[in-house]
Symmetry: D2
Subunit: 373 residues, 4 copies
């Protein structure tokens, strides 16, 4: 769930900073604070208690390692966190965690984290798409050979190639944005019935959602389609990064030489090497997304009213999938923002098999694709 | 891609009939016919030729096995199909396949198949959701114990359990419908540039889309986000089936005995057995979806202007994923439509740990979930 | 589970012929016959009955579609098959299926199928490895540039590249052979206790294994490590095919032009195209294996004494995985057996970045790798 | 790659301590030291240099974060590590990294890590198997009902159930041990030809292997079958843990109540709850293994002489897969070592459908399975 050694190379450092242990504990605390405030809005706990809880939470020293050790006994980190928070607020302790179950807090915290990390992923997807769109516009008429099944086919333009990258990145970003926004607050209580706060449960859920700027919804503790949709959207976005990254790696190959990265990795012993490291590491991260998504998609079969394993399997997998897709987007952005195009090499390669030079049809398509952004 | 021995058991027979070799060849032929007609609309081929092609196609005896053998040489079944169709129309042969490449026809045919098979999947998802909703309404106040992590928690109602099933099935059906509808016609020509018909390419694509009642879009030959989105949606829908199927299997267990299927599998040697076969086989199919979806999600890295393998890997995988999700939905529908609920057993089990009998909070949630349908 | 339209293109026709519905039913019948004979060996059923059962089975017209429809009721095709077989043997009916449960017959039949299909897969893996080894020997000193991260590095020889292919194919074939051979007969009776034939159960299992030339083992009805090992071995073998297939596609690219296939797919409109279709389709099949293997690896969590879904999910997945790996091996073999190497292009490409011509170190490694076969 | 918040709960803390950034850097340093010593054995670098390098390495302050940032430029952490090590040894700098390429060091370090972490995984698999075997021996005649498809079938004994767990854990441990031991040293130099040290390359590789107590083999930089085999073995072992963990969760269910864990998670609001948290978290970790294994199995298609992404995707995935399987084994061990069996509940449940009390056949099978350990 984060590695100082590997995250920078794989572009995951920015997103990982929003997914680390400290982020998780911050999110858990934020949910508990918002929950007490939401309950106070409806007179379920005293408003003064909610304020004391918020103040105490702001000062609370929550050590992830301590919380992690304490989580073993009850099966999740919420139980010891609630204990710690209650201890910190004295006689307001009864106003901590009103009507909630651990899953309410874990799920809502996960939704917060997805939002925080998702912003980074979406930003890098947009940055990569914008860079691709700029390349498309600049090179709308730059002729190059289209290659099908690895073989020269007919001429196209580099602009059209880059426009295709743009379209995929834009589509996948929009879908990811929808999937992130669709994740609502979780609030159902011990059995998902909102029994403890009856009849105020739905109203408290609504307040909680407003406090945390999340959508509201009936309890979805065992209805995990939204998690599956998010997993799918993240894997699709990773795939939308894999396509241009693969093209960059291939076009940067020594014999083709049609593009190069701004800061290629070099080699002390082999000075002619110009490794497109950003695209290479984007591909590496993208390769990890489908398997991680499959874990989440397979974890939909929650038993009864709380799954005995499928739920717990989501936590780290979701974190890792956000890191993988985020890393792919970040590194692709670096690759495309710094990409140097070599039209002379494109022309030279094109000439191997073609004398065609008209690029109007491709340029028209570029305009059409970019206009639809 | 279909098995007479296994399809009925796994509920895949109805959907498989729209995904078999004959369906594929019918779709390929339908695309070629529509393409000639679309080209005729724009004066690219004579209208009379398009009519002869349509008439010949209607009579054409396309043997999948023959086509399959002939596909080896060129790498896909479109090449020999075009040859056969041209031979059948004599001097109108030049009006077959105007401006197209094999991928245009394969991709558009796949989109047709997804639509045909998707209708069946969506219908069974709706049937299963409706059955779940009926159970939810009927049992909105039927008390049962909520079980968390396999242990008795607090009371809920069976209606609320079934309402959760409904919500997941409804959500995933709506998302699948969007993903299917988002799949457009593919038309880009040899290099994805629409060069051959310039400047009429986009107009022909639009006509082709209209003919086939599909959406129109710029060429997406290597921009596969829509395939990924479909894969994700199918896996999510399979997961939405897995959840109620898992609950049915557990609730039907001998000790719990809270539900039973209408036509349980029995055993000659063990007459007390009442195997919930429909739910069991729904679970089996649902288990296959995430791995199949991962194959499609991982196949986004199409090289250059036609992928050397990633594209080809889509064909059978997409077919199998539609069969898996379709089978899960069909069998779950059977399970839920015939489900017998045993309130007496629910009460008896509940009494093991609880004396609580108020079900108002759960019934309120049922109403809220069903009202949102 | 087989497609006349797609199997030849993907090289799956030979292996699919051993995995189709007819093969499954033949395997099921073979197990029932062997079981009666095994029981007869130990005096559990009359020898005359076993002979009549064998004779009747040889004449039995088992229609997969009929069996498939009848399988819905009880949950698997063994139940109606036993009924049909009993009907065919009159008063010897009681000697059909002695002491067995459906899973005994399904599992053992699956093991038979794995053996039948596995022979084809292993044969094609060996054929591909032998072709790679021949290329390695022929070209042990043929200089070419080694490419790392897509960039020219230092010289190697094509022989060393092909020797690496050989090593991977050989390793994976040996592991697959072990995994296939490790699959034993399944015989445990209704609860996996061999209760019905006590104390003769283990002896009957041993006889059954001998009859079917399979290994013997205690019941493994819910202990699926062997299935997982087979899944892993098949996916590894597919990966061992993907490596050379990927290299062939890249080396056959227009700019590199260092190899070409014997029967490349051509294009009517683009006569210069030389698509390495065999390698391309090998890659496509290989891409499908990891996702299919993951389904089987995830299906290890069989509940209690017979899984309610995880077991059923194995049947078609195992079949499809054998087809995918078998197809990859078959098409790679075609690719490598017909591969033309172009040393002149290798030298020309090498000269772009290197003047080094010594190949002795690479040739030494080739000899060492080939000597270890 | 490690989380203080989640690792203890998921049993991954012990294995994660051997897989963290510090372990990776320690392994990288260990390889460089061993490489200089191996080269010195063959007179390639001065023995005094090798000693100075070893001494300097022992004092070297390698900060993973610094190394991680510096890794971005060249594409992997070995390049800056070599630079740091060379700077630390002054004029012995030329004797650092003799004849090697970054992949040699990364791959060999990964193999070291697999060995270190593998020892923990294997130990916990053995501990879990031993606990299962003790349960099997103790309860070889403890009657319980066998459940098939969730329904009561016929009597078995708890000992036979636990013997089945043992068999799966033992099998998968033995296979994992073979897969770990099969991983050799990597040493091929820039192009995998051992050119730089010719003709001493193979001898240096052998010395390197001996220094690190690893197997020797020709360069396998793009021949990744061993990584695939390891991935398969880890996923199979996770599956072997999932089976007993699933059974424990089901048998611990309130209605069944046949087993309970030593330290079940409880709930302040629901005192009757006895959550089998160890088994639950073992299941959660096991669910993550197949998707992670699929990533590695799919990453076999290394292009040319160094893959542009597939190789890099292995590093974190391998780490996470070891954590997932290790966590599953560790938590299952806790579950089984502390498992309380409730024969009275087994008898009571059995009596619901059966009057059979003979357990001799099951006990015989227990003896046979345990004797084969």
């Amino acid at each position: 769930m984060g590695s100082a050694l590997f995250d920078p190379l794989f572009g995951a450092d920015r997103v990982a900073a929003r997914l680390d242990d400290a982020s998780w504990t911050a999110a858990l605390v934020a949910v508990e604070v918002a929950l007490s405030r939401a309950a106070a809005e409806h007179g379920i706990v005293p408003a003064a208690h909610a304020e004391r809880i918020e103040a105490a939470a702001a000062e609370l020293a929550v050590d992830p390692a301590t919380l992690g050790m304490a989580a073993v006994e009850g099966g999740n980190p919420v139980i010891p966190l609630v204990r710690q928070l209650r201890a910190a607020v004295g006689d307001a302790g009864g106003s901590v965690h009103p009507g909630a179950t651990s899953q309410d807090v874990m799920d809502t915290a996960a939704v917060l984290l997805v939002g925080w990390a998702g912003d980074v992923v979406l930003d890098d997807l947009r940055g990569a798409a914008d860079a691709a769109a700029r390349l498309a516009a600049q090179h709308r008429e730059t002729p190059m050979i289209a290659r099908t099944l690895g073989q020269h086919a007919l001429p196209t333009t580099f602009g059209l190639v880059a426009a295709g990258w743009t379209a995929g990145l834009d589509r996948s970003r929009a879908a990811l944005q929808r999937a992130v926004a669709a994740l609502p607050v979780q609030f159902g209580g011990a059995a998902g019935t909102l029994a403890a706060l009856h009849p105020h449960g739905p109203a408290v859920a609504e307040s909680l959602a407003r406090q945390l700027r999340l959508a509201d919804a009936p309890p979805w503790h065992t209805e995990r389609t939204r998690i599956g949709e998010l997993a799918g959207a993240l894997a699709v976005a990773a795939g939308a990064c894999a396509k241009p990254a693969t093209d960059v790696v291939l076009l940067a190959g020594t014999e083709l030489g049609e593009v190069s990265e701004a800061a290629p990795g070099d080699s002390s012993s082999m000075p002619h090497k110009r490794n497109p490291i950003a695209a290479i590491t984007a591909r590496a991260s993208a390769r990890r997304a489908p398997g991680l998504a499959a874990i989440l998609l397979a974890a939909a079969d929650h038993e009864h009213q709380r799954a005995a394993g499928a739920w717990h399997a989501e936590w780290e997998t979701l974190t890792d999938l956000l890191r993988a897709t985020g890393g792919a987007a970040a590194r692709l952005r670096v690759s495309l923002e710094g990409l140097t195009v070599h039209p002379d090499r494109m022309v030279a390669n094109l000439a191997l098999t073609s004398t065609e030079t008209d690029t109007g049809h491709a340029a028209d398509l570029v305009d059409r694709i970019l206009a639809a952004r």
